[in-house]
């Protein structure tokens, strides 16, 4: 077939008053998804002539269709993908008809790239799910449908492709459609349109096909043109403040995108989390003040009262404000090679706020193929399930089911800054509203006065055998002699009591450190100088322990000895055991040690006598003002 030149003027795309539909395409590697999209772009004239010329050349070189154009090459963009013949990342495509403008999220179907599908689905209003007519519903079809429903998409087009290879059999098509409707109903997908297709030959793609006289429904493009778009302006007013707009002392505006409802000057609003009430004075834009704005618009509001509002606060309808909570049940999709660890400190971004967060033990993971609930202690890459989330302060939110933008969050690793997960808020946990820190009359300051020194945590970290316990003992002796009130938490002692139910997996190590951090926090509140001597191999947990006490109260001491040295010392014979394979997850051998990047104190035990090292630490405390110098 010769490549189409454009015999007549293409349909005028993108007139002024057309609307926009965002959809996602999902399918298995061989379902012909790239061909389908390439063909849609080609047939709606979204492709310029020179790209078509490139396609002809590329088809001969890389194509799988002989001399015919391989439409899949139009969308398989990166050279890494072409070599492997798979789509490895989500790509966005654009085309238009006279009625509607489309943004397509083209997502890979390959198993290990589920995170890309979730990414594409997060902004989509509709999903096109491809099925190979010869194969029917596959495990992947179920997985994609589940993820689509999880992300709140309620409209699916089931594209039964490669109908030419089953002789345009109506029975085959109807059997697949029937199976799928049963499955989709379980997921709450209520709008399913099934269409028999051949993407390669263009049947039922733009118009009706002569091969399927038994099919009277719309073509794929007609279905995409008639599908309802989301109406985001329903619901009460929500506008997270992205940026406080202060050109001069006289003007104080709050800039953000309206994520729900509509607003007019004079409307009563409540600002969360403060709960302060006011009225909208003006809706300010570059093009002049507006008398109304609605969801989807980016505006700047001014209020009639001078109230303190900062980035991340949410301006809500006074009569129907968002809820406020710091603990939630959530659905979580994990997107990192490093598993989610309960208790590990992460960052969560939601709305225009980024804050500290930790997850509890998963309630369950979901087998995305069978929808069964499975017991889980962590979430691995591409796993999803339900887990409670605790934030370090309360934030305004709506359930994801009510407002996608007010109920979604991403999880960011504190160390790598990677986006490692994405989640949906279900509801606030009751207990989050009920627990308040008990304010006590004899407080830390009273105890500091009585003790004559400030409390702190001396957190010793280092490999097993580096000398942490020995050094901690020496420091405690010196402090005691100076009249300080101290307590030493030692690895082995804690393991026999507080943490005796824990093993040495990464998840258990995190929980162990969390417990120690909590105990240290209470002891600091009691006014003590707390010494801890634990391997504590991960940055993230040490940061968590640091975050539990006030600024300046956490002193990280890197007890640094090279692996060769500690392995040679091997006071407890543990390295030898680990090398023989009798001890799993041993730090330095088959479990990593992340050395502190900027410890307050760095002691190289191979070069420093223990008493000198201890003296250095005590001098540091005096310099810091924790202790008074000895008279």
């Amino acid at each position: 077939m010769a490549l189409a030149t454009h015999p007549s003027a293409p349909p005028a795309p993108a007139g002024e008053a057309i609307d926009l539909l965002r959809f996602i395409t999902c399918g298995s590697v061989d379902d012909g998804k790239s061909t389908l999209i390439g063909r849609l772009l080609h047939d709606t004239h979204a492709l310029p002539d020179d790209q078509l010329a490139t396609l002809v050349a590329d088809s001969r070189r890389f194509g799988t269709q002989g001399d015919a154009p391989d439409y899949a090459l139009l969308v398989d963009g990166l050279s890494a993908e072409r070599q492997q013949g798979i789509t490895i990342d989500v790509a966005y495509r654009y085309f238009a008809t006279p009625r509607r403008r489309f943004i397509v999220a083209d997502t890979p179907g390959h198993e290990q790239y589920t995170r890309n599908m979730v990414t594409g689905a997060s902004t989509a209003e509709l999903a096109v799910i491809l099925v190979d007519a010869r194969k029917g519903l596959l495990t992947q079809t179920r997985r994609h449908s589940f993820l689509v429903s999880l992300l709140g998409i309620r409209q699916v087009v089931l594209a039964v492709n490669k109908m030419d290879l089953v002789g345009w059999s109506r029975a085959v098509f109807e059997a697949i459609e029937r199976d799928y409707r049963v499955f989709a109903a379980r997921l709450g997908i209520d709008a399913v349109a099934a269409i028999p297709l051949s993407a390669l030959h263009g049947d039922n793609l733009l118009g009706p096909s002569t091969h399927t006289p038994w099919y009277v429904g719309p073509s794929l493009l007609q279905q995409l043109e008639r599908a309802p778009t989301l109406a985001p302006d329903g619901g009460p007013l929500r506008m997270p403040v992205q940026w406080v707009n202060r050109p001069d002392a006289a003007f104080r505006g709050f800039s953000g995108r309206i994520l729900g409802g509509r607003v007019r000057p004079g409307d009563a609003v409540r600002v969360l989390p403060s709960g302060r009430q006011s009225q909208v004075a003006r809706i300010v834009t570059f093009d002049g003040d507006l008398d109304q704005a609605q969801a989807g618009q980016s505006v700047t509001l001014t209020l009639t009262d001078e109230i303190d509002i900062s980035r991340g606060d949410v301006i809500c309808a006074a009569a129907d404000p968002a809820a406020l909570a710091d603990q939630f049940e959530t659905s979580l999709v994990w997107m990192s090679d490093e598993p989610m660890l309960p208790g590990r400190p992460y960052l969560v971004k939601l709305g225009a706020t980024t804050l500290g967060a930790a997850f509890g033990q998963p309630k369950y993971a979901i087998d995305v193929n069978t929808l069964e609930h499975l017991a889980a202690r962590t979430f691995e890459l591409n796993q999803t399930g339900v887990v409670n989330l605790t934030l370090d302060h309360a934030v305004p939110f709506d359930a994801y089911a009510d407002n996608r933008d007010m109920g979604s969050f991403i999880v960011i690793d504190r160390y790598s800054n990677q986006t490692v997960g994405a989640g949906l808020l279900h509801f606030a946990l009751r207990r989050s509203q009920n627990i308040h820190w008990q304010a006590l009359e004899v407080d830390k300051h009273a105890r500091i006065r009585q003790n004559g020194h400030k409390p702190c945590v001396l957190w010793l970290t280092g490999l097993s055998g580096s000398g942490k316990s020995t050094l901690a003992n020496a420091v405690e002796r010196q402090l005691h002699a100076l009249g300080a009130r101290t307590y030493l938490l030692d690895g082995d002692n804690v393991r026999h009591g507080l943490s005796k139910d824990l093993g040495f997996t990464d998840a258990d190590r995190v929980e162990n450190i969390r417990r120690i951090g909590e105990v240290a926090r209470l002891m600091v509140d009691a006014g003590l100088i707390v010494l801890t001597a634990f391997i504590s191999p991960f940055h993230a947990e040490r940061r968590l322990a640091r975050s539990m006490v006030e600024d300046g109260e956490f002193i990280e001491i890197f007890v640094d000895a090279p692996l060769e040295v500690v392995e040679a010392r091997d006071p407890k014979g543990l390295y030898a055991k680990a090398r023989r394979g009798e001890l799993a997850n041993f730090t330095g051998i088959d479990s990593p040690y992340e050395a502190p990047a900027a410890p307050e104190i760095h002691i190289r035990t191979a070069q420093t006598p223990i008493e000198d090292a201890a003296t250095r630490i005590v001098e540091f405390l005096i310099a810091r003002g924790v202790l008074k110098p000895p008279l």
Partner: protein, 299 residues
């Protein structure tokens, strides 16, 4: 009143601009003088109104732009509230790098790619806005709105952060940088529709006029100043041409056209579709050449 698709694109771009500025320490906007830069600058003025732009503009100059581009740059720089930084790679200037003697690859690498890295390092910018769109070129289709670059300004297509909903992750360590593309979801047609709707000033070279050109390797190259070395037997002829994109004048092909207004350009795009980058000689350096340039730090 439902929002038109231009309204939605505008609102999304403003949302991206504000979010990036709120999360960055030292943002900057890359300004290339072309139509996408003009739209981006217009959107930025809208995003922060009535405040002034909370960042400077940066033009990485090659000294080989069209004269009409320098004229518009001067006009923009004179506007109230605009701070324009012009960076010229001193090394490229010292070596006298030019597209005629050194070829388009070396020319682009030294003036643009290396020049941009120098400017970002010198001013310690941690976030840079660019006007790239996903519909421009195949390797751009997978570009994130917030694109992470290493401390060496490198782009690793396999190590980009997933972007969900409208939650952009701009976190980075000192020395690392985020490039942000607020026009990601726009197409060329919509850029022109928006220029028409908002009456945005663009370089006159986009509009058809009689211009002196020579034909080389199938491209119409405009003889914009006396530095253009004519080959033997080559005489510039006046032809009615315009430009789809604007770069260095010796590397930018014109198209024959009679479209002398924004409306005519939009009409032309509907009837004679070729891609805007077809006139960019640097894109033809080899298969997947844009992907490679991006990995090296090109915008």
């Amino acid at each position: 009143m439902p929002l038109t698709h231009l309204d939605r694109l505008e609102a999304e771009s403003i949302d991206i601009l504000r979010e990036a500025v709120a999360e960055a320490e030292r943002p900057v906007m890359l300004y290339s003088i072309g139509k996408d830069s003009a739209v981006l600058l217009h959107l930025a003025k809208k995003a922060f109104f009535p405040s002034r732009l909370p960042f400077p503009l940066l033009h990485v100059d090659t000294t080989w732009k069209f004269r009409a581009m320098y004229a518009l740059r001067a006009q923009v720089a004179a506007e109230d509230g605009i701070e324009l930084i012009v960076h010229v790679n001193p090394e490229a200037r010292r070596l006298g790098i030019n597209p005629f003697e050194h070829g388009s690859s070396l020319h682009t690498d030294l003036w643009k790619t290396q020049g941009l890295k120098q400017a970002l390092d010198e001013h310690r910018f941690d976030l840079a806005f660019g006007g790239a769109r996903r519909d421009e070129e195949k390797s751009r289709a997978k570009e994130r709105v917030f694109s992470f670059r290493s401390a060496q300004h490198r782009w690793d297509p396999r190590n980009q952060r997933p972007e969900l909903w409208r939650l952009y992750n701009a976190r980075h360590r000192p020395g690392e940088e985020i490039r942000v593309f607020p026009l990601s979801n726009w197409t060329e047609l919509e850029v022109w529709q928006y220029i028409e709707r908002e009456a945005i000033t663009v370089v006159p070279l986009y509009f058809a006029a009689e211009r002196p050109v020579v034909e080389r390797e199938g491209q119409l190259i405009m003889v914009d100043d006396e530095r253009f070395p004519l080959r033997e037997g080559e005489t510039p002829t006046l032809r009615r041409v315009r430009f789809r994109t604007l770069g260095c004048y010796p590397l930018t092909g014109a198209i024959e056209s009679t479209a002398d207004s924004v409306a005519a350009i939009i009409q032309e795009m509907r009837t004679a579709p070729t891609s805007e980058r077809s006139g960019r000689i640097i894109d033809h350096d080899g298969s997947a050449s844009m992907e490679r340039k991006k990995a090296e730090g090109y915008f």
